[in-house]
Symmetry: C2
Amino acid sequence: MASVTAPDLVSGVLAGDVGATARMITLVERRSPELEQHLQPLYRAARSAHVIGVTGPAGSGKSTLVSALAMEYRRQDLTVGILAVDPSSVFTGGAILGDRIRMGGLSGDPGIFIRSMATRGAMGGLARAALDAVTVLQAAGKDVVIVETVGVGQAEVDIVGLAQTIAVVSVPGLGDSVQALKAGLLEIADVHIVNKSDRDGASRTAAELREMLRLSKRQVGQWNVPVQLASSAKEEGLAEVLDAFARHREWMQRSGELERRLRRNASARIRWAATDLVERRLDDRQPMFARAVDAVLEHTSDPLTEARRLVDALI
Amino acid sequence: MASVTAPDLVSGVLAGDVGATARMITLVERRSPELEQHLQPLYRAARSAHVIGVTGPAGSGKSTLVSALAMEYRRQDLTVGILAVDPSSVFTGGAILGDRIRMGGLSGDPGIFIRSMATRGAMGGLARAALDAVTVLQAAGKDVVIVETVGVGQAEVDIVGLAQTIAVVSVPGLGDSVQALKAGLLEIADVHIVNKSDRDGASRTAAELREMLRLSKRQVGQWNVPVQLASSAKEEGLAEVLDAFARHREWMQRSGELERRLRRNASARIRWAATDLVERRLDDRQPMFARAVDAVLEHTSDPLTEARRLVDALI
């Protein structure tokens, strides 16, 4: 991996090389300036993978479930990329996956790429990085990309919202269905998964979710949000979950919803790239920016006036 | 409130009028286009309040503690603004405070302004809105502004990070101190509060925190992060907490840390205002933007190239 040079990096990713893909995602995480030249060819070459977002409350067994679903995809001979995104891991960086790769039986299979991502710096950065990492995995030829988030805050909703199919994981007991509702997850789910279906109360949780879905009257077009029971431990319901994902994607293609979501994504990415560009240009000329900060601190001006002045002068 | 017109709104806020202040914060939340003209005079007139961020895990009793601290400030004859920010409340909006205002004995006192804010739309929007709302409360003449967040994700860390003094609340038991550490809260705290100090294990939790602080060796300059026991229910330790806040601010002023934090804030606000401006200008000319989205979707171009083209053409 250390010997991979810049042009080789892009061709390495395009050839599906694991080392090149990993290194590219590191560049994506770091938002390094050289990123742009690599992402441009990758974006244009990116194949159309099925991008699936998986979220749900802590303790719902998302990670194990995602590993089990990935193995099920492998049984169907599809290649899988997994991005485990942890917006709450601000300072520690993302090293949560070592054990999981060993435990999940996912190591050594070149058809699976698994990676954890943590945030660095400003809010919003992680969503951009996650989306770029999805592009890298698409360019690396993965058929399916699963973006998994830990926890249920705004950041998670934003990140998972970038997916084509959004799966929300609940578990029986502890009022999880209510918890999901509270965090707004009921509204964004395309597929509900009740995990640990071997536990007591699983079918009651599923029934509650179905009732809540009925009451919320959320039926985007003709898509009827399914509630699927699954158990990673017993390997039950996994093929049915993948089937629900596939049916959702078919419906999206038929209904025009896929086009709508892809447009929304492309629009967000152009906008993000534009604001990144502007922020970089504002960084470039320090003296003028420092004078603007002085004026704001002295209250002789305000951030809006200074921003306007800087944008007009520098961009 | 309905009769307040635009110029009156600004003078109403500056006079400390509750209705005008509330309406102004609503404009801030909505990111309405007319916001700018109001914020400019408010920013220039804003007094230098002590801005305190309070965060901590769910169940730590933050809200009740903040109410109790606000009442303690009132006993010291200082005016207080409270912003309760809930990044997880994406869809429901923020109506969590009705009961609290009634319960907390805070209603009817013009020296306290309390408001909940929820996010609308994109990640990052809430941090900007929270910072603008702080400006509104400063302009309204509050001596102290407390920004309280619910939960401990990246969004919360970002929002609380905008404060001058950051307080992290723990409670005895349930491994809360470890939980705080995990979320990176140990690193950002200027003051630790162990709430519900009447519970068993409060002093052990405080001792654990002190030990962790010792191990982490975080001593920015000469500031020794205090760990303060408090009980909202028994009204114990509240004056001591306020004293810790005041000592932190004095230290910041002496050490130059306040200047550093205010510069960082001003810089972030100018940058945000600049990217807002750019995003608005990109919105303005739809046909060109739509063609860019088409090119990205057809993979004949990529978001970075299109962003560059749009910025150069439109800004």
